[in-house]
Symmetry: C2
Subunit: 249 residues, 2 copies
């Protein structure tokens, strides 16, 4: 049930999140945030014209934004039929997204070891502090935000082009998932693990780093086919308006 109240994404591009850069870039952030926070529900249609008027811009930037979101797996669009918000199945998160994330992070952290500066470490410390605050306030969304920001900093500073690029297309889905269902650990534990992660980075010891990282992510992703079949994806598997053409084509 998509809420039927008026739902204009809060800002009109210029105002609010007065970030920089091209309009399209800003539109991406606004819409992404709106989808992740559940302002738009899976299955809901996103019409270019509507969004453009709501956001006070033309269709061009909106169009680009939608394509970007499509590549982040938040929407799916078919030619001449438009875009609809997409959900993620619990199974795909556990068996695909998390393992991929693990691959990306193992590689990134290894490379980041040799490249991170004190300024970077400071920024990581800041995120850990933010997590503490969020955990204390039992504020899941805020914790998830700092969590992913922490990882983004490390991965970005690894300087590995494709790894960073792929990460940027993976994290929105993971964030959307965690945002709704949290994870298997309690908030305090998550904070603690990141503190350890930061400490490991500062030692610049590859072995220790690897160990700490696996410890952090492992629990969330079972060896693969361990999890069974009667796993009805309670999650939004996106109900595309199934078209019943007639008999098979």
């Amino acid at each position: 049930m998509a809420a039927s109240v008026e739902r204009t994404p809060s800002v009109v591009v210029d105002a609010g999140a007065g970030k920089g850069g091209p309009r399209g870039q800003q539109v991406v952030e606004i819409l992404r945030s709106a989808i992740i926070t559940g302002e738009y529900d899976p299955g809901e249609r996103l019409i270019e014209a509507t969004l453009s008027t709501e956001l006070g811009t033309s269709r061009g930037p909106v169009r680009e934004a939608l394509r970007q979101l499509e590549n982040e797996g938040l929407v799916v669009s078919v030619p001449y039929r438009g875009a609809v918000v997409l959900g993620v199945s619990d199974e795909e998160v556990q068996d695909v997204l998390i393992p991929i994330r693990l691959t990306l992070e193992r590689y990134s952290f290894a490379h980041a070891l040799e490249r991170m500066t004190d300024a970077d470490f400071a920024e990581l410390g800041k995120q850990v502090w933010l997590m503490e605050q969020a955990a204390a306030a039992d504020d899941l969304p805020r914790l998830v935000e700092a969590d992913l920001r922490f990882h983004d900093i490390v991965i970005s500073s690894s300087g590995q082009t494709h790894t960073v690029q792929i990460w940027r297309t993976i994290w929105p889905r993971i964030r959307a998932y965690f945002y709704r269902y949290g994870r298997g650990k309690d908030l305090a534990t998550v904070v603690e693990e990141h503190r350890d992660l930061l400490a490991a980075l500062q030692t610049r010891d590859p072995a220790l780093m690897r160990a700490q990282l696996d410890l952090h992510i492992a629990v969330s992703s079972p060896p693969s086919d361990a999890r069974g079949k009667p796993k009805r994806s309670k999650t939004t598997t996106t109900k595309l308006p199934v078209r019943v053409t007639k008999a098979g084509t």
Copy 2:
């Protein structure tokens, strides 16, 4: 050294690969193919206006195409400065792209087992046959093409939304890589492995399938940190046009 000869991507959108769909879609395919086959070299700039006139379309479609290619890791673009062709380092292919590919395929093949039809199997058989021909003619490009098409069919028919989506953003880089450097196996072996893969699929036995798949991809991707450090990426790590302001020529 980007070849300086006139290099118009062969077709003018309407002609040649008379596929269907919106112009932008066609432009993506033309440019992707051009990049993968090395018609454009890493580091080379892609100017919207130039491409649009060459392809006989307006800048709109070209713009979208470039964004798509950016999400496939074939180009990178910065605001107000345009897009340049991107290369892949040998290290990232081995440590990141291949492992991710493995994750995607394990999951897809497992799901495809229960969903593939005889028509699908037939299509797979066709690809194997094409591989045979290519191997016999020692035609690497053609073999790579059939190879990836084979995997694309299986993954697509798994019906796993995000898995398919991510695969579509990963394979172009892998294809570009294989296209240039082949792989560690000889052509005949590759063909044989796919024949086995197809047979395994037809048995619809999960265990056998998994075994056969791991066998197929494993060799290409060492356990992780096995590969050493003195690994100068002989590969194109994209030389961004280093700005020589004055001094150093």
